[in-house]
Amino acid sequence: MTTYYSEDHEWITVDGDTATIGITAHAADQLGEVVFIELKDVEDEFEKGDEIGVIESVKAASEIYAPVDCEIIEANNMLEGAPGSMNEFAETDAWIYKIKITDAKQLEDLLDEEGYKAFIG
């Protein structure tokens, strides 16, 4: 399994043609305390860059974007009841979707861990 990062502060851990995605701990920290998460439905299909959900913090609303072309195969329903877990476990238990990757070539455009760390400075 390999983890990639987007410049929109999402992580994507790839396992064959499926992957788990979420937002980075850095992004969660910048957002502040998360109070609500709006998720898309399973089987919805998206292109890279499409809005695939919204995270509301005490400060503001922020969109989540598809890091690659994908179909949603599972949404993390725990987030609905416990949106605040996003602040503690952004890169583990507070994953957002499991997806089917429909264009694996797009992974090459993403950052690796070192690249993301450099990006956020």
Binding site: G32, V35, F36, E38, V58, P83
Partner: protein
């Protein structure tokens, strides 16, 4: 507009202390201010509701008006009764425009030999220009060498009282000058959180030591502008630029209580035609509290519809209320729909989310009357 917009953001005397305490600094109305500290908005909000929080509000404008008849002259540009205001008393009012809209809201205190005004940071240049243009023979002095620190919450009386016993017996909307740690401070028992508390004008060079002394109290901690906003929203207090502006009248904003009887009878302030007409006949729209029934916050700009899809108005302030433990909003709706208990729809990202009109505030105000 003003030349301050093109220059670097300004810093208050407490800037270094904010950074030391983990403040996340943001540009606010041309000032570098802490939106939150390491504890986070939720904890800072709870601190103020349960104990005491300290806010730096030095970015707000502090102005002295001096001269013969200053109170009477000020009444020509605000609809509150200022002339009979007793020494040591403070009053909420607003500058109105000729159309009956609100140019800014402010607090006016009778400080004995002068009036002491506190105006919004983003409006201080406008307000001072407006007063200079309209208050003939009044000396208008902007205090640029004083910090303004708010101590808010049920324990504020203990935090401030420990350093200044004279503050303990003060009542809501009273103001005094008193010594704190050797500095002459103006202490006013009021605030913007719905809680008991004080706003304290402190000479710049004493601001850090006095703020540190407040923070040394076990029941006191820092709070940022994020908590200040969620506290005032739960308390149903208007934010200038969001809930009130040049297009909203004080009657639409439900600020009737701030226009005293004599001014209603006599008029004589800008926009009196509209304001007195709305007082008599009622406004066509009203500012109301709106409680979303789900979990999604409905923020400024969200459209309010009736259940048939007709537009009723828009949300002017909205977010998550930490004490309410859910989303809270305020907005203007057409008066025939401004009924407590009425269900409306909020259009959030294209979806109609049900919400209920409620009587403000969301959280009961807790002033020392």
């Amino acid at each position: 507009m003003s030349d301050t917009e093109s220059t670097a953001p300004r810093r208050t005397p407490l800037y270094d202390l904010h950074v030391e305490l983990g403040g996340k600094m943001v540009d606010f109305a041309g000032w570098e201010m802490p939106v939150q500290y390491s504890a986070g908005i939720m904890a800072e909000h709870a601190q103020c509701r349960e104990k005491a929080g300290v806010f730096d509000v030095s970015h707000m404008g502090q102005v002295e008006l001096r001269g013969e008849g200053a109170a009477r002259k000020l009444e020509s540009i605000v609809p509150a009764s200022i002339e009979p205001l007793a020494e040591g008393k403070a009053r909420y009012t607003f500058f109105t425009n000729p159309e009956g809209g609100i140019m800014d809201d402010l607090i006016v205190s009778n400080a004995g030999d002068h009036l002491f005004l506190v105006v919004n940071a983003s409006m201080r240049d406008q307000d001072i220009g407006h007063m200079r243009a309209n208050l003939d023979g009044v000396d208008i002095v902007e205090l640029t060498d004083r910090a303004l620190v708010a101590v808010q919450g049920p324990k504020a009386v203990e935090v401030v009282g420990a350093l200044c016993p004279d503050a303990i017996e003060m009542k809501f909307m009273e103001t005094i000058v008193a010594d704190i740690m050797g500095a002459s401070c103006r202490i006013s028992r009021l605030g913007y959180t719905g809680e008991d508390g004080y706003e304290i004008s402190i000479p710049d060079e004493h601001a850090v030591s006095i703020t540190r002394a407040f923070l040394a109290h076990d029941d006191c901690d820092v709070a940022g502008l994020g908590a200040r906003d969620s506290l005032r929203l739960e308390a149903g207090l208007c934010l200038y630029g969001n809930d009130i502006d040049n297009d909203t009248s004080p009657i639409e904003a439900q600020l009737n209580w701030a226009i005293q009887k004599r001014r209603r009878e006599e008029g004589g302030f800008p926009g009196a035609d509209r304001i007195l007409r709305e007082l008599a006949d009622g406004p066509s729209r009203k500012l109301v509290g709106i409680k979303p029934q789900g979990r999604a916050p409905a923020r400024q700009g969200v459209e309010i519809q009736d259940t048939d899809g007709n537009t009723l108005g828009h949300i002017t302030s909205g977010g998550f209320g930490p004490t309410v433990q859910g989303p809270v909003s305020m907005g203007y709706v057409a008066v025939n729909h401004a009924n407590v208990g009425e269900v409306v729809n909020l259009i959030v990202r294209g979806k109609a989310l049900p919400a209920e009109i409620i009587a403000l505030p969301f959280v009961q105000q807790n002033y020392k009357r």
